[in-house]
Symmetry: C2
Subunit: 519 residues, 2 copies
């Protein structure tokens, strides 16, 4: 009876996909068919697949990292460390604490948070137990953390890797495993003050990293929705039309309009009205002008967004960052969870690009792409709270893979060598049979907190010891010989100038400290 | 024709598992049945399962982290940062570079490296493309990195999370996601010099972290194998008997002996001979004595290991760490890839435990458990190199979850508060309508690199501003009022002493720096 059911299920499963999809109804008619039985069937089929695979030709061992991922070598790590220091320094300057969350979450924690992008989530294999997925960003785990710990306000940063099964474009810095550096402010505060601080943070970080000119686009989900409403977009099409508008940084208006009308069935009239708005860029003045706009002012939502936008710009003026910030009605951003202000920072390749005057049409600019983005998400924590209690949040995420790429290229081009260690001194000898003495002195230096290296050879050549210093930028060599041991001194050699001086052993640590603190 | 084939396959798949497993042969008779067709079937079944799931009662949302994982809150992160600073400081003092590798590897990269523990590896779901697994340790990815980049020598550290589907025991610091801090030296060098440095590193780190007394056990795989051989263990039983010996830190000798004889079929005589050896602990003298041992000296392998052990102890004496290091013949370690020296550091709960004299039987000690371990693995890189070229390696892994637990408990017990931010000054006001002035001053401080906070309220109460400083340990408050603005000063208040002094605005940054650098 059971076996017969399974056979029919299998027959039916095949038809369901190839055929009309009516099979689920048929399926329900078999009593006792459950998800766990399907699991068993799946396991059986995969077992078969494994057996098939085992015989299909010889195993070829592949020496590579997984698609879309990469190793960081010591040079890249040295650059990465510098970038992180700058970013963490900024986050700490703004008084943020830090938290950490696991690399995977319950699958259901991530479900329904990312809209169309959900298909890019990495799932873990069901090996018994919970269904898990790798985190897709740091925002949803943060919201889960707040709800789980009933935290009503916090200012926190989180730097960690996130995972997306996207089409990798590694030369342009798009990976499947990549870092996000997130800063978020959760809590019920007066409007736009935390939002302005987030933008100030983007400004500070991009300035400090010396990546060249950048621009921060700002918009508001409420302005977008209000705009769609007054332009005659049906309510159920807001999200999908929003996704199309989001493509304006990659596609021309003509193409975007085409997609709206032909693919998404929007009226030409509505599309053209949207076209007028999304070409607008400006500052506080644009917000003021739109508040007077006969059409826009009909939307309560848009008016709320525009009033806040004015307020935001007034704070940005106090924070002295308005030279890089543009209110840009074409900025949409893909993720579902934003509810208010949204922003995105782009590097502008060809030198400074003037911020257009209010109403002036934004000129086309070749962007290296987005390096930071974020916005307000007042509803996300409530999605996790059993009682739906809301915790308003605003935050920004710095996407630093592109930053790494740019700084790596800069380092390549520069004559200056990137040091990958911080070694201050190499303990060396020109004579044989002094390994024990070298090890003893090295341990003395370690005890004093000096960063010291010694070659792992019984009798290394002096030249190869000096060569190692040249290669890895070690500034000093402490040379031991029979004579030095007898005299109670160490010959301290400056690698760059090749000057040598005998230093009494008791003064060596102090001398090394003095010489290397000057750098 | 195709559809019919699939139906039969499905029928067959069901029978294969329930029945005799002969189905694969039947399967091959259907021409054109491939793994990708099975994939399609699997996808169909899973689709059905998802549809079924939607109807099976109401969804219960679970607000938790995945089993065996945890979040780190800001206090825990502050402790973690301190621990990492100590460890990284030590690694850098020893001249190590750092690298990073992806969190997942091709599944085949991890296959055949971990012996019985392989079942604990987390696999990713097959969503099309490569088969991936989460890294189980940092050593195998390191070896893959060396082979892939043809690196013949490097001294590197790597701090990152690893994943094991083990039975979690979170109160004892055993998690499914946990940090490892690895330091490894790869390269062809004179024997035991890098090995001695690894032990010195464990010694330095455990001392600096102030975790109480510890002991580092040392042994050598060659000594173990030689011992097994001379005790009459059949060659094919070396690994499994080794696993049993490894349990001596958790089980009594009687139980270990029982497992060897009853479960693993070893002769009682052989077991008893092993029993005599594994009770031995000592130092260089024990190595010397065993070299003279009539039985042990028959094994070439054992002699090579014992000679190296003597050499190791001579270097450890120069490094001044022999007070904590014991040559312990019962140390086995589970992983397959070790080829020479192995070691493990344990915290000894009840104060100092005397290192037994040579030949004296080691007394039972209650150990909090292993906090570091490692050894030499000269064959691992060769397993990845297409031409099998070997790169000798030795390394150590600090397992810091237990360290975190201990330091968290210490922090709980201590009267001193753990600060989770580094904010130097809070910009406050006692009067209304000064938000703009507060924001302006805060931005000035940020510009000067001062860590400063401001409340995100238009008119916060002075008391709540001061309370926030108390709560989060901010030492200074810069208070603005109408009078101060008129006079061009800021009232600087020391939170602890409540002293207030007017500071000219132009001197404020300098004054804050002076006051907070004293701390």
């Amino acid at each position: 009876m059971y076996a017969l059911g399974m056979v029919s299920l299998r027959l039916c499963a095949g038809l369901a996909v190839r055929g009309s999809g009516l099979c689920v109804n048929t399926l329900r008619r078999f009593s006792g068919i459950t998800a766990s039985q399907i699991d068993e069937e799946v396991a059986r089929l995969l077992e078969l697949k494994a057996q098939l695979g085992g015989d299909e030709g010889k195993h070829q061992f592949t020496l590579k990292t997984a698609k879309g991922t990469r190793d960081f070598n010591p040079k890249q790590m040295a650059i990465r460390e510098k970038v992180f220091n700058t970013i963490v320094g900024c986050f700490k300057r703004h008084g943020a604490e830090t938290i950490d969350t696991p690399v995977f979450e319950l699958k259901e924690t991530l479900t329904g948070k990312y809209g169309e992008d959900s298909k890019l989530i990495y799932d873990l294999k069901d090996q018994g137990g919970e269904l898990l997925s790798l985190r897709y960003d740091l925002t949803v785990p943060f919201a889960r953390y707040l709800a789980m710990n009933k935290i009503l306000n916090i200012k926190r940063y989180h730097i960690a890797k996130v995972y997306r099964r996207d089409n990798p474009a590694m030369t342009r810095g798009r990976y499947r495993e990549f870092y996000q550096c997130d800063f978020d402010i959760a809590g019920q505060y007066d409007p736009m003050i935390p939002d302005a601080e987030c933008l100030r943070i983007v400004y500070e970080i991009l300035t400090e990293l010396e990546l060249g000119e950048f621009r921060i686009k700002v918009n508001d989900r409420r302005i977008l929705d209000g705009m769609f409403a007054v332009c005659g977009v049906p309510g159920d099409k807001f999200r999908t039309i929003c996704s199309t508008v989001d493509k304006l940084d990659k596609m021309s208006w003509a193409d975007v309009r085409g997609e709206m009308v032909k693919e998404k069935g929007l009226s030409e009239e509505a599309a053209d009205q949207i076209g007028q708005y999304v070409s607008m860029q400006g500052g506080m003045d644009l917000a003021e002008r739109l508040l007077q706009d006969p059409k826009m002012s009909q939307s309560k939502q848009a008016c709320a967004g525009l009033t806040d936008m004015k307020q935001l710009f007034s704070y940005l003026q106090l924070f002295q960052v308005t030279d890089k910030v543009v209110f840009d009605l074409s900025l949409a951003r893909g993720l579902d969870y934003y509810t208010g202000v949204i922003y995105e920072a782009i590097l502008t390749q060809n030198g400074p690009i003037p911020i257009p005057e209010a109403g002036e049409k934004g000129e086309e600019c070749v962007s290296v792409g987005s390096v930071a983005g974020g916005g307000r998400y007042d509803g996300l924590v409530g999605m996790f709270d059993p009682k739906g209690r809301k915790v308003p949040c605003v935050g920004v995420s710095i996407g630093i893979e592109r930053v790494f790429s740019i700084l790596e290229q800069k380092a390549e081009a520069s004559a200056e060598k990137v040091r990958t260690t911080e070694v201050q001194v190499m303990v060396a000898s020109a004579q044989k049979n002094l390994l024990e003495e070298r090890l003893k002195l090295t341990a003395e230096l370690w005890d004093a907190g000096i960063k010291a290296e010694v070659m792992y050879k019984k009798n290394p050549k002096l030249l190869s010891q000096l060569q190692h210093c040249e290669d890895s930028g070690i500034p000093l060599v402490a040379i031991l010989g029979e004579q030095e041991l007898k005299d109670g001194v160490v010959k301290l050699r400056a690698v760059h100038s090749r000057e040598e001086v005998d230093v009494p052993r008791a003064e060596l640590v102090e001398e090394i400290r003095k010489r290397t603190s000057e750098v």
